[in-house]
């Protein structure tokens, strides 16, 4: 196989793995549930993207025919990831999980839980 293809794939793999690792580090380091939600759902989109492109390039070159499964994985990932994140955030709000001290707009959590507009007194 071409050296430059290997180089390209390796760079993508290392970058992708790096982003996924950072996502996991964020899971440990960040202070509360809501901020932790950002790390794995986000830093991993780019990480997964890099890994999938690497897979596409590598398989296409070794098999000699284009490999496009990965596009479907990307599509399903992009459809499901935000829904999961939304459901997790919503569940956290309804379980009344606490925010870290300095979070702005903590008083909005009550309104969000009741699903009313922020100006409502109820």
């Amino acid at each position: 196989m071409n050296f430059y293809v290997e180089l390209f794939v390796s760079i993508l793999l290392v970058t992708g793995a790096g982003f996924v690792l950072i996502g996991s580090v964020g899971l440990i380091r960040l202070p509360d549930f809501y901020t932790r939600l950002h790390a794995p759902t986000k830093a991993t989109t780019l990480g997964m993207g890099c890994l999938l492109i690497a897979s596409m390039v590598l398989i296409s070159f070794t098999k000699g025919a284009p490999s496009v499964h990965e596009l479907l994985i990307t599509l399903f990932l992009f459809i499901t990831a935000p829904v999961t994140a939304h459901m997790l955030a919503k569940t956290a709000l309804h379980y009344e999980l606490g925010f870290t001290e300095k979070t702005k707009g903590k008083e909005l959590a009550e309104k969000a839980r009741e699903r009313v507009s922020p100006a409502d007194d109820a």
Partner: protein, 166 residues
């Protein structure tokens, strides 16, 4: 009375999508897979068309493609930003919960908008008010609330409305 074509192919776009994803899934355009894919693309819509709720269709495909590319670009840029924030000092982080006023009330558009917000790193849509006028968004690092709300409305919501023309 519905025309024969619309009874046989109740959801033409879905049929095309099913055929294309079947071929991508099998990574092949061999005649056998095309026949099998066409069979699935024909029967599945017939079986599920009763569950289908009408949604506004995309009116301007050029804008839709541009929107998708823009969101992808935003995801890449924002991913790098979030990654840097995670490894950097955490005491500079300013998490926040904000309420974003919504102008759109349609199910599909709201879903696409909320998903876009969740996909672009640093923001997760958490809850929608019952009257669909406010979207509660959790932000990892809030710098300027006004600017963020303006960005969501200008960059995403406005384009979505143009795309679907409603």
């Amino acid at each position: 009375m519905k025309s024969l074509a619309s009874r046989l192919l109740p959801m033409p776009m879905h049929s095309v999508l099913l055929l294309v994803s079947w071929l991508i899934l099998n990574n092949s355009v061999s005649p056998g897979h095309i026949v099998l894919g066409a069979f699935l693309a024909f029967t599945i819509p017939l079986l599920v068309s009763g569950l289908h709720t009408p949604q506004p269709g995309i009116r301007r495909y050029g804008l839709a493609v541009r929107y998708a590319l823009m969101v992808m670009y935003d995801i890449v840029v924002a991913n790098i930003e979030v990654a840097l924030k995670i490894v950097g000092p955490l005491k500079n982080l300013q998490p926040a919960l904000i309420a974003v006023p919504m102008d759109i009330t349609n199910d599909l558009l709201l879903t696409v908008l909320a998903s876009t917000i969740s996909l672009t790193p640093g923001t997760v849509s958490a809850e929608l008010s019952e009257d669909r006028k406010w979207l509660y968004v959790h932000v990892l690092n809030l710098e300027d609330e006004e600017a963020l709300i303006r960005q969501i409305k200008q960059r995403y919501e406005k384009k979505l409305r143009e795309m679907f023309e409603c």
